[in-house]
Symmetry: C2
């Protein structure tokens, strides 16, 4: 519970309708898609940069934890206020401040929804590349916090590649701007990209200048099935090695296909593995681009390559891919959805390792995801308490395999609560020590999103 | 001069042929393309990561300045050892350690030349995008130090967009790895991009994992002349707003054209401004891509649009562009070559401002550069001591104009010695304070490249 003097300070910053200590209201700002939940002591709804700066200073003065929150769509517990304190929900700072087509940029508030941004950009024939599955209801600053990606990242990069400048308030209470509305810059240290992926542990973003990309005027969707995972992964490497990069290169293993078919019907083929490939371009260039990608996809072990003939067929393909995540949750309410990354060429080894672990722990494990980046959603699917207990050991071995294959814990979901204990396996001790020291400079009293991203000091290195 | 105990420590780390305190030898490691020069007390030639780690620890123990050096092609004085001490020249760590086409990456030593890397990649039909004019004789770690760009950055990004992972030794003596050989990652703070552009002030890079791009199989070069700078800048915005991004979009103002013609002959047209545009692609896609860019380039004020018909014509166009820099030095041995960046739409205002300053200070100022990124090489060309004296005041006003137009001091050359006094104008005080604190965590005794990038504490904010 907040001490009275802290609450008084918050009341000086926020009008009555922008501050709540009501337990029922606080409750709903205490969980995210990780299904973890801790009720904060207060929720505030900032509407200006100045309020955020005053909020951080007040929280620092009272040593109160402060957790910035978009819409809680993240899967890692990064927005759960594990030490209580104040949650700042940015739902009222949701405006597009400026769209500047000549400079291919937009200036936005942190609580703007990704989908609302895309809708505002469409009339200008521009888009912002990050496209997580949650795009209709996740925020830009949430995307920034976890370096969100999505299928398009294979061609257009993830969040870190698509932000030009930020305005923010460090945990010290100092507000600052970093970056510029330009695509090049070599003026001092890159604070912008340091904040991206830092999960609100260094500073709270109050404004973002986003790099936009011209919207291609046409897109073609292909479906390629292969005899097995190795053949599909080999095709991915071939596709990525030629100059026409697809704008999506999604992978589903045989077990995902079986599940998708069970839920989605016979339109989903059964095969050893499937790739959903999208190619974008202009009317004149699209056909040859599709040809180039098709040639690369026609490698050993191809079963069938189909170009979707209609919008309905495209919709069915993506529906299968997008229905997977909820379908898996139906199968396993406690599913553990990881988003590990390995070099593209090591995808078959990783999938093979998960099969071995599935057998060892008698537990369903399926793999799908963004193959062009080697970013696989390894899903552990415990169906009862006994399987759930085994799943945690299996997960630990999944991470060991990922590290062994020169990969890392997360490609786009971040670390949050759920993966921070594994950080000492993924990073060397000196890198982790430098990260802790950077944290201490931005947030000397550790008020910003405590208990996230960096492991506790007593977690041993593996 | 090094104290004897420091020299003894260096002698324990380096064999006799990898350490010199000979004044004549030290002399040549004390300058760069900024034409500034300070002779270091010793030069060492590391050949392993372990030697570099031991070197940093020895320099820290003795509080000796340590400056990492590629080939000294930078223009900002970043590799000049202004406080003496030890220069570490990386010319012996120049190997390509691994080319991995399936994962589109290469692992290289820091002293590898950019041009040698490109030659090693060509048989794999891959390239590394950064292409500064000095590519044949500048190093990869030099490119990393200043976040080097070049014409291709408009399509493929600068150095910061094309490095996946680094191995490095911080000024504290701690060695670490950051990043992974994957194109996505959301595992902790982004130390990789923090090091890129830090000019050797945080850590010394000993290995780099570079992101590669498939080499397009064909390229077409266009030349577009316009009635004036504003018309050319408007065409640049139109070109950048459509989906086919050219792989070079270079700008020359009327004065540059006149100078290039004087040196390069009648093949160079006289006009209000010229764009050199390159479009790359595959045999099937190139023609429509050229058409799309040509349509965008055909805006109001176009004088003539020519597609180069032959290799010779292409070579002549680029020769004119590349001869500019040396031609300007002939005209003005003390030329001041800046590489400021502004939003693309503000290029005409910046060029107009430089014209006003040229008149005010009675000093030739010309503009050319990477228009697609708004990255202009503003060249001040003093021809005698009186003009040189005035040039410094003019330069200060150029930077004021750049900041006024929402731009920044450097797009690809970095800050070094020559621009650090202007940093307080470009960055707000809190951002600068955070940079200083990051520096203090990586390099607590300030031994790495002292006197660079960050301004002295007593430089007032403008």
């Amino acid at each position: 519970m907040l001490v009275p003097s802290a609450l008084t300070d918050l009341q000086h910053i926020f009008p009555a309708d922008a501050l709540s200590i009501d337990a029922a209201e606080c409750l709903v700002y205490g969980y995210d898609n990780s299904r973890r939940q801790i009720t904060p002591d207060a929720v505030v709804f900032p509407s200006t940069h100045e309020q955020v700066a005053a909020l951080v200073r007040a929280c620092r003065a009272h040593r109160v934890p402060l957790v910035a929150r978009g819409r809680g769509t993240n899967t890692t517990g990064a927005s759960v206020p594990v030490e209580g304190g104040v949650v700042a929900s940015f739902e009222r700072m949701n405006r597009v401040l400026r769209i500047d087509p000549d400079n291919r940029l937009a200036v936005v508030e942190p609580g703007l929804l990704n989908g609302d941004l895309q809708a505002a950009l469409a009339p200008h024939r521009l888009f912002w590349p990050p496209d997580p599955t949650s795009a209709p209801y996740c925020t830009i600053a949430g995307n920034i916090a976890c370096n969100a990606g999505g299928p398009r990242a294979v061609k257009y990069g993830a969040t870190r590649d698509n932000v030009l400048a930020l305005r923010a308030v460090a945990g010290s209470g100092e507000d600052f701007r970093c970056g510029k509305p330009t695509t090049k810059g070599a003026t001092g240290y890159d604070l912008t990209r340091l904040l991206i992926g830092s999960e609100g542990t260094l500073a709270i973003v109050t404004e973002a200048t986003l790099k936009l990309t011209p919207l291609p005027s046409a897109k073609r969707t292909l479906r390629a099935t292969y005899v097995d995972v190795t053949a599909a992964a080999h095709a991915v490497a071939r596709i990525m090695a030629q100059p026409v990069t697809p704008c999506a290169l999604e992978f589903l293993d045989d077990q995902c296909l079986a599940l998708a078919r069970a839920h989605g019907g016979d339109a989903i083929p059964l095969a050893g593995a499937m790739l959903v490939i999208e190619v974008d371009g202009e009317p004149d260039t699209l056909a040859p681009a599709v040809d180039a990608v098709s040639r690369a996809a026609r490698s050993d072990g191809l079963v069938e390559l189909l170009v979707a003939a209609s919008e309905e067929e495209v919709a069915r393909l993506w529906a299968a891919r997008k229905a997977l995540s909820p379908a898996l949750r139906t199968l396993s309410p406690n599913k553990i959805n990881e988003d590990v990354v390995v070099p593209v060429s090591r995808v078959p080894e990783l999938v093979a390792a998960t099969r071995t672990l599935a057998a060892k722990y008698a537990l369903p494990i399926v793999c799908f995801g963004h193959a062009g980046n080697g970013n696989l959603h390894v899903n552990l699917l415990p169906r009862d308490d006994a399987e759930l207990a085994r799943a945690h050991d299996a997960l630990s071995e999944v991470f060991d395999a990922v590290i062994r294959f020169d990969g890392t814990l997360s490609g786009e979901h971040g670390i949050g609560i759920v993966k921070r204990d594994f950080m000492p396996r993924a990073l060397d001790a000196n890198a982790l020590a430098l990260m802790r020291r950077i944290k201490s400079e931005f947030d000397p009293d550790g008020i910003l999103n405590p208990g996230k991203l960096l492991p506790d000091r007593d977690i041993p290195q593996h």
